[in-house]
């Protein structure tokens, strides 16, 4: 009974968050920055922020995570962090030799009013930024939004800093994958290429945070979107942002600045959302869907029909990021499951609206909350038990306490591997997701079956 402190009685809570379903902006910015080739993320704040973010990302990806910090002192918090940042830029370029430094702020540097843009300009003027190297930056105050907001802000910053328009379209397509696993980014790229489209995917952490073991330590792994690719985003024929929370801002900024037409789609999780993504690609690039992709779709559909009898009427509790949960709820509904409790830690009205649109017509009540926490989710579960829980690793407390089949999904996953190597997006990812859900449900069925009805064939 790890969570013996969760009581059934739900009282309004205004002043506090218990067992959060989110974390702060800077870690999202750091994760996005790692998706740029030869880039060192830089945390403009106290040393602890950087250490915590690196540790959290390391635990999730099980890969070395590099980032530098301005190492604020009491002095810098009184007189401003300009001297620290200028020194840091100098140190980083001379010692760690990245091509790009991606600076994000913290609650501390935001509140004391450091103007990172001005400091970056000063660093260039003072000759601290070598020819051909770049310092980009995003404002990521920890007291606004969540880790997803930070990811969005840094993604927008990289597009705005690098993108240029030569006036000649390059025939490429910008794809913004959002706060997903490196494996998901690779899968989205594979599918887009399979459609005969050349993508510029940014940020791209594939081959950065799921790289191979080589016996060598590379500070800058092979993957990541390059500066040249980011520059070319202004000449692309279009942008598809996957997920309104993590990706829309960057796509809209490219539209406004360079008239690169953008559309915001749901993350391609499940059949319907992937169909819409493929269809959007088809229309925007004027290509047809190859048989290979139609075949993958058919396989996903095949598993759904093969196993649908086990999904029917199963109640599900969900916690995660808004961009993941919206298509996931749609997917679960389409296979006859019942998402009854849905929580995201990230604040924002659109999330609840989208979920309500999908669930209002259902004959059972659905609890949904943006800016909620896992304590609230657990209370809901205690009042209305579920057959399946899908959440990040922190869901395991609830799963253990209330003996609920559990599928790990989202960030962070601190106790299992595989998530950074196998996708959950697109048709292939849908197959994996179903496999995980089925495994959890059927393992439970087997475990609880009395001997006389313990079946070999399911």
């Amino acid at each position: 009974m790890l969570l013996r402190h969760t009581n059934k009685e739900i009282k309004p809570r205004k002043a506090l968050t218990v067992n959060p379903a989110k974390t702060c902006q800077p870690i999202g910015a750091m994760y996005a920055s790692l998706g740029i080739h030869n880039c060192l993320p830089h945390s403009h704040g106290s040393q602890g922020c950087c250490a915590y973010h690196r540790s959290a990302l390391t635990r999730h990806f099980r890969e070395p995570v590099m980032a530098a910090t301005s190492s604020f002192t009491e002095g810098s918090s009184v007189f401003g962090g300009q001297a620290n940042l200028v020194q840091a830029i100098n140190t980083i370029f001379t010692t760690y030799e990245p091509d790009i430094i991606a600076v994000h702020t913290t609650c501390l540097s935001e509140t004391i009013g450091d103007d990172v843009n001005q400091i970056a300009i000063k660093a260039v003027k003072d000759g601290k930024v070598p020819e051909g190297k770049h310092v980009i930056h995003a404002s990521t105050p920890s007291y606004v939004g969540s880790h997803v907001t930070g990811f969005s802000n840094m993604t927008k910053a990289m597009a705005m800093y690098f993108s240029k328009s030569t006036g000649t379209p390059n025939g490429k397509f910008n794809i913004i994958p959002g706060y997903v696993e490196p494996s998901d980014m690779a899968e989205i790229k594979r599918l887009v290429k399979g459609m005969g489209i050349t993508p510029i995917l940014f940020p791209d952490t594939s081959n950065v945070l799921n790289g191979p073991m080589t016996g060598k330590y590379n500070m800058y792994p092979d993957g990541g979107v390059t500066a040249e690719e980011l520059t070319a985003t202004g000449d692309s024929i279009g942008t598809i942002a996957l997920g309104a929370t993590a990706s829309a801002d960057a796509a809209r900024a490219l539209d406004t600045r360079w008239k690169v037409p953008c559309q915001v789609q749901d993350l391609p999780i499940g059949l319907g959302a992937t169909d819409r993504f493929i269809d959007a690609l088809r229309k925007a690039a004027g290509v047809s869907v190859p048989d290979s992709i139609t075949g993958e779709r058919g396989q996903l559909l095949d598993i759904i029909t093969d196993m649908h009898q086990y999904f029917y009427g199963k109640k599900v509790a969900l916690a995660g990021d808004p961009d993941h949960l919206i298509p996931l709820v749609e997917f679960l509904l389409s296979i006859d499951m019942m998402p009854v409790h849905i929580v995201t830690g990230t604040p924002g009205k659109n999330f609840e609206k989208r979920i309500r649109e999908m669930t209002d017509h259902l004959p059972y009540p659905v609890n949904v909350k943006a800016g909620g926490d896992l304590f609230q989710l657990h209370q809901w579960i205690k009042n209305e038990p579920v057959d399946l829980l899908m959440a990040n690793t922190y869901g395991k407390y609830m799963a253990k306490d209330d003996d609920i089949p559990f599928v790990r999904m989202g960030f962070p996953i601190l106790d299992r591997v595989g998530h950074s190597y196998f996708p959950t997006v697109c048709y292939k990812g849908g197959i994996r997701l179903l496999e995980k859900i089925l495994d959890a449900l059927l393992d439970r069925l087997d475990r609880d079956a009395p001997e006389e009805s313990f079946e070999l064939v399911l």
Binding site: L16, S46, T69, S77, S142, Y143
Partner: protein, 458 residues
């Protein structure tokens, strides 16, 4: 990775025994822009106080600081588990503008009513120091109403290093003791255990030794800690302090205030554990029975583990180890323990060591050993490769670096899952080292090529 330059400003923080004149520079803030492995003040306070299981731990700040420290350190409790919940005031933008005092007050009242903790700790994060919340006043007000100690922990991240966080935690613990200071009788033949956090159940092992010696343990600070025990700490005869940095401040304060002397010990390795127990027994020399029992205990325990240690030693003799840990005191013990296993230490470093610590390290190490203060990953990787180590002992951020280099790893930090203290801890440690160093997986690594590259360089 053929050449890695060392930061010019950091040259004095690196020492090679037998090559450089010894004047290591330490106890200074990390250079801005360095990829430091260090954390912040809050981190120091949080790890020290967190194991007190029947206290409320409320983190006053934006959500990140609470999220990153939610149950990541396996400090076990034999009873209540309130410490494993994550409580945060989750400050938002309006709170930053108008102040967070009201929110804090409300949160404290709500939580104390709900969970009836025996005391409450309020951790101040960076932002609280900047917006100027009078946390002291709020705590006083709440304490007066609810009748339990409500203590501010002044752990604003930018106000120093992790060490300053230890001090802030010690201040809070001292206040907690002071609040209960009645002229109570000293408990005969009793000690407090300081700087022991019950990772993997280590506190229980040590307490059992003292029980067998006939010594009463009044309070453990803070492993498997309880408020009432901490508040009786002033009744003990002796403070036994483990872990170099963290609780020496409290021992000094208690010596001044209550005349309780303290000794510094370590429970890692056979020599240090025996020394620790003998030192405590010697303190109670007026009761010679204690020394007799201690001698029997040590003999029995050593006899139990020696056969296995000798067997493991056969495989480990001549293997080389690199150590990078938080406190230097731990490094001393590890060097001794590794020598016991026939291994050579080729690199040793710490995040928070002082001049005396490094002088002692130098004496303990063989010629050629690299000694580092506040190292960055590039330096660690460089020397590990150069010295061709077989084993890396460190924390969460070092693990994937060791694995990328294709060498064994042993977590000697928060994330260890098995107890490493005492005699049985030494046996566990030896097994763990043996398992990883002799694992066949390293034969799969493209290691020979890597070794050739090294020998070319040398």
């Amino acid at each position: 990775m053929e050449t890695i330059s060392v930061l010019e400003d950091r040259k004095n923080q690196i020492y090679r025994k037998g090559q450089d004149s010894f004047d290591i520079s330490c106890e200074k803030k990390s250079l801005a822009g360095a990829v430091s492995q260090r954390a912040c003040v809050f981190c120091g306070s949080r790890v020290v106080l967190y194991p007190i299981a029947d206290a409320l731990h409320l983190i006053h700040g934006p959500i990140g600081c609470a999220s990153y420290t939610w149950d990541i350190r396996g400090a076990l409790s034999s009873g209540p588990e309130l410490h494993r919940m994550s409580f945060s005031t989750d400050l938002s933008e309006t709170d930053i503008v108008f102040g967070g005092e009201k929110k804090l007050e409300k949160a404290l009242f709500e939580l104390i009513e709900e969970y009836e903790p025996k005391a409450a700790f309020v951790y101040c994060t960076c932002i609280v120091g900047i917006i100027g919340d009078d946390v002291e006043a709020v705590c006083k007000k709440v304490a007066a109403k609810v009748g339990i100690p409500v203590l501010p922990v002044h752990s604003e991240g930018f106000k120093g290093t992790k060490k300053d966080g230890y001090k802030a935690a010690c201040d809070a613990l001292f206040k907690l003791i002071e609040l209960n200071r009645k002229p109570e009788k000293q408990i005969p033949l009793s000690i407090n255990i300081l700087g022991e956090f019950n990772i993997g159940g280590e506190t229980w092992i040590i307490k059992e030794y003292y029980r067998r010696m006939g010594i009463e343990v009044v309070a453990v600070m803070t492993g498997d800690g309880r408020v009432a025990e901490v508040q009786s700490a002033h009744r003990a005869c002796l403070n036994v302090v483990q872990c170099s940095g963290s609780l020496t401040y409290l021992a000094k304060d208690m010596e001044k205030a209550y005349g309780i002397p303290y000794i510094r010990v370590s429970y890692f390795g056979i020599e240090d554990t025996s020394d620790a127990l003998y030192d405590v027994a010697a303190f109670f020399e007026d009761t010679p029975k204690i020394m007799e029992r201690t001698k029997t205990l040590v003999q029995e325990e050593v006899k139990t583990i020696l056969p296995e240690l000798s067997a493991l030693k056969k495989d480990l003799t001549g293997k080389r180890a690199a150590i990078y840990v938080g406190g230097a005191f731990k490094a001393f013990s590890l060097i001794k323990a590794l020598k016991h296993l026939g291994m050579a230490v080729v690199l040793v470093g710490s995040q928070t060591g002082n001049k005396d610590d490094y002088a002692l390290l130098r004496e303990m190490c063989d010629p050629g050993t690299v000694i580092l203060d506040d190292a960055n990953p590039l330096e660690l990787a460089k020397y590990v490769m150069e010295k061709d180590a077989h084993l890396f002992i460190g924390g969460v951020k070092e693990r994937p670096i060791a694995y990328k280099l294709g060498i064994g790893f042993c977590d000697h930090n928060h994330e260890r899952k098995i107890p490493l203290v005492g005699f049985e801890g030494m046996e566990n440690f030896a097994r763990e080292v043996h398992e990883t160093v002799t694992s066949p997986v390293w034969d799969l690594v493209p290691r020979k090529a890597f070794n050739r590259a090294i020998s070319k360089k040398g």
